[in-house]
């Protein structure tokens, strides 16, 4: 079902807000969802509706499950809250030639192996040691840097948004302190 909050719901709403949910789901949603999705509806340049998907729950600024399209010609903004703070955080969909029958009995071994191979957690360090200049190249070249240094395959780039490198990246805009934080963490997860 679609539930709608009209623009009269809150001062400043430019478009109505729509929540997709069954009756059971909407009853369980916390009130922050209404607060946050109606705030999204006030953002400059928002088109038609501020949407909230059935998984809606309290987020930062946007609710989790919030969706909005912004028209840049109409004063639209880029909202980090809408993009998501944990985007790409350790999530991977990997196709293999293995079947469920082969994988299921060995899931525990697989997860343990992943933990061994992928450094993660407090103060974790990657196996890639880079100079600050080289680190800036990684910032600008993205996944292409990884492939050119043997940490991936060309096919990986074909399956990555913008082929793993968004045009116009300018590492000179990244602060020295941010680089201090990232330098040891490259090659880790999280």
């Amino acid at each position: 079902m679609i539930w709608e909050l009209p623009v009269a719901y809150k001062e400043g709403m430019r478009v109505p807000a729509r929540i997709y949910a069954t009756e059971k789901l909407i009853e369980q949603m916390d009130e922050t969802v209404y607060e946050q999705i109606s705030n999204v509806a006030t953002l400059p340049g928002i088109t038609k509706y501020a949407f909230c998907m059935p998984d809606g729950h309290s987020g930062y600024g946007f609710p989790i499950g919030g969706v909005a399209a912004m028209d840049i010609e109409n004063g639209g903004v880029i909202s980090p809250g809408g993009i998501g703070f944990d985007i790409n955080c350790g999530m991977r969909l990997v196709t293999t030639n293995l079947t469920e029958v082969q994988v299921r009995p060995r899931i525990k071994d697989l997860v343990e192996k992943l933990f061994q191979r992928v450094p993660a957690g407090v103060g974790s360090k990657g196996f890639v040691k880079l100079s600050r200049d080289e680190f800036r190249k990684v910032i600008e070249e993205g996944a292409r840097w990884c492939v050119s240094h043997g940490y991936g395959w060309n096919e990986d780039l074909q399956l990555t948004e913008e082929e793993g490198c968004i045009e116009g990246a300018d590492a000179s805009l990244v602060s020295e302190r941010a680089i201090d934080r990232g330098l040891e963490q490259i090659g880790t997860l999280g």
Binding site: Y60, G121, V122, G123, R177, E184, G190
Partner: protein, 143 residues
């Protein structure tokens, strides 16, 4: 001087409330809450290394924010786990000024049982207020 974690506030992140009789105490409590989010036993951190910290901010709550971010910065850039030993917070020419001495050591996975990594302090529901008993801060950490 104490803190408590608030699991009901942030589902996927870590929220806590820190309190203290003085402003300095609430900074100590909040700093410990950040480090305790990452490490099980704060008592296992030995005061082998020291750092002095000087921070200024026009807003008092943002001074606390800056201090907590600094703890995360030192953990990421130097793998240092630090606790605030002494602090002084003054108001000078309309600015809030923090001077603190931190002590601790480099993260040692063998002795410091790890919990979750803190990526940032968020401003979501961030609050520092004077209470009848002293000072109280509510903070949500991005983990």
């Amino acid at each position: 001087m104490s803190y408590e974690f608030l699991p009901e506030i942030a589902i996927a992140d870590q929220a806590f409330r820190a309190s203290g009789k003085t402003l300095e105490e609430v900074f100590v409590s909040a700093g410990d809450a950040v480090t305790n989010t990452m490490i099980d036993d704060l008592g296992a951190i030995e005061p082998k290394k020291r750092r002095s910290l000087h921070l200024e901010n026009a807003a008092l709550d943002l001074l606390l924010f800056d201090f907590l971010q600094e703890i995360i910065y030192l953990k990421d850039s130097e793998q240092l786990l630090l606790r605030l030993e002494r602090a002084q917070i003054r108001e000078i020419h309309g600015k809030h000024v923090f001077d603190g001495e931190l002590a601790g050591e480099k993260l040692d996975p063998a002795r410091h049982s790890q919990r979750v990594d803190v990526k940032a302090v968020t401003l979501h529901r961030f609050n520092l207020e004077k209470t009848a008993a002293g000072w109280s801060a509510t903070v949500i950490l991005d983990i």
